[in-house]
Symmetry: C2
Subunit: 516 residues, 2 copies
């Protein structure tokens, strides 16, 4: 039978050496699936000729129009030395230069977690799932929609830790708006480092905050380990169209120098920040990713970097970004193919939706995006769960609902077994015409692992479901989230490390108070 | 820019000759998209080697285990004469016989509608969307869950007629349980023939009811037309595993002899009616489809027929069929590849779900299935909208919700334009780094048709949405269904034909009263 990733992972934890067994008992309080390794083909929507056309046009954009690196003289110097045509802040790249520079970027890399069982491979056939990033609001069925707080943030980190199919703790799972902007990152990092043992993301809102992220990782992982290994994957958005601002680039420079991974990601509402066409948008996405990835390699050749594409379509009636649409999927498929041709890991997708509630709209749009991301070869999926209302809201219920659906991606990605047991000729012979398979030997031997099963959704008989209160998915998710949070126990962490992290955060907060 | 099917269809209606214009004015009360012609590749999950293995095993099933044609001596005679090994009701087919017989089945055919604009092509790169089939219950937010009546049936036919992205009126959109079983089909056919002008399905619950269906079509289309053209596509379920009962086969015989199309479809809850493995289930599906399609060609070589695969997975805890699961998608992809290798049209997919309500569960499961059906090369999609609770319930709200999502399939299937306008190099040059595209000439020229837009889902700003009552998708769909039904006007029908149909139904009901 096809073997699901989690069962493989669980078995490894069980059957490993003494150290692995101890790690499984102590650090691994809850089961987490291993990151997905696809055993299925990618869906190639675009022909080679179409991709070559887009690549040609992207080079034309870089050569004729160029990109802007704003308020960043050091970047302009790097570009000039690399052979670019720099006038003012505008950088024009001769054909082929960006692609040549990208060649030193690794095709895949490992992002280490403090629990080695939970380290993830990014690139190649992998798919790593990380939660929603960035919402200033939270919503749950008890409290409705409100500004997010640090306690909300911790709640999402705990839920992520408890979510079997989520590989990554993420970054800004919501904006803790009750903490001053200049100190937020310290509390967020503390939460990821102490409340979870899954990999996480660093701060990007200022170079100094990226430096804090590296410093705290050096406490958590050890200075030597951080120097030689990626322990953070951080999100560097490009200011589309074609602009790289000094804040984001400053953070990228810190991370690249420290050999930490960045996602270089155009952030595009189609028709507003890119042309109102799929092919035109892909051209711009490629030009921006090429320039951004090339720049990371100018800072440090070999620094791990991910080709990002966050693109929504737009409702031209309301101006609202729209999600789960065919055009968003087309762009995802195309960007994935372009990233693979560039031989760098690819980030896109997620549980994206525009709905205000975790209702049917949210689920249609989310499922459309999750399916495209699986088939489109995404390696790192940010926003895989909890995203609501175009990213303005992190939803407790949707976090749990989406995280459950992520299980289906694992099973789908595992492909189909073809061995003798899977062929089931013995079962067909045993049962014959008109019989039934429920009791046959093959079914008894294989039914447990044969089919993916939701841990959340309703499979009950109508009468039972009705008697139990006729609960819809939102209510089921509310109850499940409450149960997960009640059962949550933090993964063990060395007390000295915990204290050092606390000391660092306290000291930095005091310094920031003085400088403010 | 990519041109969507509906706009193409609308333009044909507008720009055709005088007759087409009159037809568009008179018969076409509401806009309906042309059936989908895929301009994108299929997703081939299985390798050629895997498919050959399954084909080999299916032949082994037919040769060694065989199939049962129960209570059908004429079928046994046909098989014997064709070279099969018939013992009792068991028919064993020498390797290759079924596939050889299938060769006379057309690779594609047209099912004609009484409004020629709405005829559909089935096979090749086409995708035809038809509504839910078979539920004994209906649900809407006003009346909850209850047994379906003939008035419910008419409501669904009207909604189907008003649904822009639905190409087909379907068959038993719900079971009108207030009409005796032996007369139901007459009222159902009347509804499809008079309340809609889209193509429809015939009765299959008895050979005599199939004969009634043909007779009423001869009134509607003319006897000569029916003799030479497919005007019905009817659903013949196989009694899996490997059993073909005389009721369904009797109906198939009537339709095949009349040159009308049948879907020959295994109906499988995996693990109960087939082995608990994807590969084993596919083996059985292929064996059953081969035998059923071959039999249709024994009745009449060249009769139009569709390779069906309706397969759900099962929750081994509750025994409930489950939908939108990875295994269901894997089987859909595999069956599609097998059908294409057999060069016959393929039926699968739909808006399948197990949820009791049109909530997030329903939408996740539905979207998973719709996406797989689009990518898996389905030609005829029954249950494309309105399916709820594992097919026990036809839902008014879900009908409207799913029918809206079907629009996205049209846009996705159209593929991506690569022409000069789509490349948008002028827009990229005009806007440049840091600008925005909303006002540029390219956007102004193309924004109207650039992005698919839901006619149902919420794209409003949070504050507007909140002020307007914070409606979820179910409420939006309830309101939209009410509006569609209020605006409904039946398509014109020649009064003499209408009267003849009425006379036929009245006469047959009287005969059935006497015989009962």
């Amino acid at each position: 039978m096809a073997e699901t990733e989690p069962s493989r992972s669980a078995r490894r934890a069980r059957s490993g050496g003494g150290a692995a067994r101890r790690a499984a008992r102590s650090a691994t309080g809850v089961e987490t699936a291993r990151f997905i390794t696809r055993n299925i083909p990618d869906f190639d929507l675009f022909s080679s000729e179409a991709l070559e056309l887009i690549e040609h046009n992207a080079e034309t954009v870089l050569e004729e129009i160029g990109v802007v690196f704003s308020e960043n003289p050091a970047a302009l110097t790097r570009w000039r030395e690399a052979g670019a045509d720099v006038r003012g802040e505008r950088v024009r790249l001769p054909r082929g230069l960006a692609r040549k520079l990208c060649a030193t970027a690794p095709a895949s890399f490992i992002q280490h977690a403090r629990n080695p069982e939970r380290s993830v491979g990014i690139g190649g056939r992998s798919l790593v799932l990380a939660p929603v990033y960035g919402p200033p609001f939270v919503r749950d069925s008890a409290g409705g929609r409100r500004y997010a707080t640090m306690e909300d943030f911790r709640k999402f980190v705990r839920l992520g830790y408890m979510s079997k199919w989520l590989h990554h703790s993420g970054g800004t799972v919501c904006e803790p708006t009750d903490i001053p902007v200049n100190k937020r990152h310290l509390d967020m990092l503390m939460a990821h480092m102490t409340l979870s043992d899954k990999p996480f993301m660093g701060a990007v809102t200022e170079p100094s905050r990226a430096r804090d992220s590296v410093a705290m990782c050096e406490i958590l992982f050890g200075r030597d380990f951080v120097a030689g290994n990626a322990v953070m994957t951080s999100l560097i958005n490009i200011n589309s169209p074609l602009t790289f601002d000094s804040t984001m680039m400053g953070a990228l420079e810190v991370y690249a120098r420290a050999n930490q991974a960045c996602i270089v990601s155009p952030f595009i509402v189609g028709g507003a920040m890119a042309p109102v066409s799929v092919t035109g948008t892909l051209t711009q996405v490629l030009a921006e990713a090429l320039a951004g990835i090339a720049y990371s390699q100018l800072v440090r050749p070999g620094a791990p970097v991910i080709f990002g594409a966050f693109v929504s379509s737009i409702d031209m009636n309301s101006g609202a970004p729209t999600f789960g649409t065919p055009e968003a999927s087309q762009i995802l498929y195309g960007a994935g193919q372009l990233a693979r041709r560039l031989r760098v890991p690819f980030r896109s997708g997620g549980g994206l939706c525009g709905s205000k509630l975790p209702d049917a709209q949210a689920a249609y749009e989310t499922a459309n995006t999750l399916n495209a991301a699986l088939m489109g070869g995404v390696n790192f999926m940010l926003h895989a769960c909890g995203w609501l209302e175009g990213g303005l809201v992190a939803s407790i219920e949707k976090f749990v609902m989406d995280a459950d659906q992520l299980g289906a991606l694992h099973k789908m990605a595992a492909g189909v077994a073809l061995d003798e047991a899977a062929q089931a000729m013995d079962a067909l012979r045993e049962v014959g015409p008109g019989g039934h398979f429920l009791g046959c030997a093959h079914t008894q031997a294989h039914f447990r692992e044969a089919y993916w099963r939701s841990d959340l959704l309703d499979y009950k008989a109508f009468e039972t479901w009705d008697e139990e209160g006729a609960r819809d998915t939102m209510v089921l998710a509310r109850d499940r989230a409450a149960k997960m949070l009640a059962q949550y126990q933090p993964p063990p962490l060395d007390a000295a490390i915990h204290e050092s992290l606390n000391d660092y955060a306290t000291r930095r907060k005091a310094e920031l108070d003085v400088s403010a």
